[in-house]
């Protein structure tokens, strides 16, 4: 009996700890998706790259915790960034993964504007490594398309978003993109519905919608600012993919739209997002 009540209270504490921080959900979700990619979609993955991504991110983050006085729980954010890199980035060499980790976390620590970092770390790391090395790329087709996949990513993503209360960013982005694609693909060009579904059920697109554009640390602080901004990213992404045939357009759109946040935060003044942790509660 005593054992049961002991276990019960342990479980209680563990779940409270787990639920206290949205990042725990995100880590589990991204880990699940990585396993899905490696084992089910049989990605051509080099585990050494993954090790490089994790060590790149964690080393910089640990240094920052030690010397820049960052809270120790920020290590969770570094884990999320490393998982993000593993899910999206492809390179010819693990060194680039390591570099991407440095860029991603380095940017977070060094490029702060009124106490808030600008770019989503994974997005920044990936774009910079692609731009600088020319030896890295993203594979928008690696997830394929399909209802089941969207359901899986959707369920995981919503579990995260409901914790951090940033649902609207993702929803507005996907809704605006869907509306634009509907107008062009079906109304204007006259393709069948299945083509639109194929486009909109791309795994990469949903991963971006639920795990990257919704990053609360780099979104505008005001709710309406976020809604307008997400809509604008969707328009830019639509334009880049349909008129300039850029692959992985959402990632580029986000990268180029992020600096606008400075203006939006200046215009709409709201307190910046803070991760809640068990001890703060």
């Amino acid at each position: 009996m005593a054992l049961i009540s002991h276990l019960d209270s342990r479980l209680q504490k563990t779940t409270e700890w787990f639920r206290s921080d949205g990042r725990h959900f995100q880590i589990i979700s991204q880990l699940t998706l990585l396993c899905y990619g490696i084992f089910y979609l049989s990605w051509d993955s080099d585990y050494f790259n993954f090790v490089a991504a994790f060590s790149g991110c964690l080393i910089v983050q640990l240094l920052a915790i030690r010397f820049a006085g960052l809270p120790s729980h920020s290590i969770k954010s570094a884990l999320i960034t490393s998982l993000g890199l593993c899910l999206l980035l492809k390179t010819n060499s693990p060194i680039l993964f390591f570099l991407a980790g440095w860029f991603a976390i380095g940017q977070k620590i060094l490029l702060k504007i009124s106490g808030k970092h600008l770019w989503n770390p994974a997005n920044f790391g990936i774009v910079l490594v692609i731009l600088i090395s020319g030896d890295a790329w993203i594979s928008p087709g690696q997830w394929g398309s399909g209802a089941l996949l969207v359901l899986l990513i959707g369920a995981l993503g919503l579990s995260v978003l409901s914790r951090i209360k940033r649902m609207e960013t993702g929803l507005v982005f996907i809704a605006v993109l869907f509306a634009l694609e509907y107008c062009r693909t079906i109304l204007y060009l006259g393709w069948d519905w299945d083509l639109l579904f194929h486009k909109m059920s791309s795994g990469s697109l949903w991963l971006f919608t639920l795990f990257m554009i919704t990053d609360p640390m780099t979104n505008p602080n005001g709710k309406w600012a976020r809604i307008i901004w997400a809509g604008a990213v969707a328009c830019l992404s639509f334009y880049l993919s349909n008129f300039h045939f850029i692959n992985g357009a959402p990632f580029w759109a986000l990268f180029f739209a992020t600096p606008v946040n400075i203006i939006l935060d200046y215009l709409v003044k709201r307190p910046a997002f803070q991760w809640k942790t068990a001890d703060q509660k």
Binding site: D8, L11, Q12, T14, T15, E16, F18, R19, F25, I28, S29, L31, T32, C35, Y36, F39, Y40, L41, S42, D44, K90, N92, I130, L131, I132, S133, G134, D135, A136, W137, S139, P140, G141, Q142, W143, G144, S145, G146, L152, A155, L156, S159, Y188, L189, G190, W191, D192, D194, L195, F197, H198, K199, S202, H244, F245, I246, N247, G248, W252
Partner: protein, 494 residues
Amino acid sequence: MKKNIILTSIALLFSSLGMMLYSFCGFYVAKADASLFNNKSEVIIVRDGIHNVITMSSDFKGDLKDFAMVVPVPVLLKENDIRVVERNVFNVLNDYSAPRLVEYYDQNPCYDYFSKDEMVFEMSAAPTSVGKAITLNEAKKFGVTIEAQYSIEEYEVLILSAKESTGLKDWLTANNYKIPASAEEVLQPYIKSNMKFFVVKVNAEKMKDVTSGYLRPLQLSFDHEKFMLPIRLGMANSQGSQDMIVYGFTQTGRLECTNYRTVKMPTDRKIPLFVKEKFGEFYKAIFERTYQREGRNAVFLEYAWNVSPYTAVKCDPCVGNPPYNQDFVNAGVSWLNEMNGNATIFFTRLHVRYSRGKFPADLQFQITPNNENFQCRYILTHPASGAFDCDKAQNYLSDLYNRRRNEVDEMYALAGWVDPKSTQYVREYVKDMKEKPEEIKNEILPVAPGDGGGNNNGIGDKKSPAPFLVVALLLGLTWFAAYAGKWMKKLRPV
């Protein structure tokens, strides 16, 4: 200096991400009863910046006089943008990059000599096709504009633009082109995307002079950002699935599909010796099974290699002679010439089996910097020859027995094949073994396939759901961890 580096890398970025190209895979519009099916086609796509060179070849069966082809193209092609090339280019590329069979020879443990390895085989390729004289009716009436009209060797080429798909369809019909009923709905989106229509037929008179009755491939060159193959039009007159082999050449690395998964074919597997005679059939079965397992909507990688003139090893081992520089030039590799001995050529071979239900969108590609070599090969290992009269031979025979068991299992796993020869094959050297394998002593287990052999087609086998279950379990655990405590609280007596 730093500035230079950044500028170069931006240029690289746009060359690796930005571009797509348009073309090919039209439907064959044949007159009268000539066969309308096009079940296999081959395309060479060469991409350099936004410059595209597309060479098309297909296995049109029927009277060549009746052949005609419609291909949507993104720009108005000029006369010198269109070229006729020899069929041989495709043969060379196909032979060189096809899935292959390798043979190795074991060394007899009782004697000391070097083992040799040898290479055999390649898959067979497909031929091409085309025409019929058209009298141009009043095009304007149909809302169709004849933008250009060329006579290029044995082909008569028209470049059309249209306002409405109905007009285009009616014009084609009025000019004796037989159009599949379902083509109209596909033509409309291409018209709206400002595509031009490249319409080709054969000039029967010239045909006689040039070839002996087969169609030579057509090569189109143009500059456009789009990097894609319009497969949708090809689906209009073909039932079921069609196969297409894409030979891609880039300066940087692999070609990859961006709107479907690009999956590697299984490779480097050891298979039984008796598969050798029917390897073509065997690979077909492997492809079918892999295609089914990946959900019938993936693009398969069969070969990827840096074949630049400066690289020494172009395959391991090679099927035949590597293509000559002239073959690459004929294929459209424009950056290769005598002055440029350092040119990089990366060769990717993709195999797509597309059908209307599973491929709603045209294939879009990107060039990646991925320069990892890949080839699809299967391995035959010949046993050692000579007498097995030393002690070491017993270990060898036992290994051989186990290896052959594995080969038979592999044959089943890859192709779903069960062969009655398997038992004999596995036990061939048991007579020389002093210590017989357990299952032979007991004669309980059948030696043949590990799966019991009940299912001998294996086609349609889905992927194992195990990883999916693991994922579901993880998900469940997460939710459990998140909410169980809360529920427990409610359940607990006050």
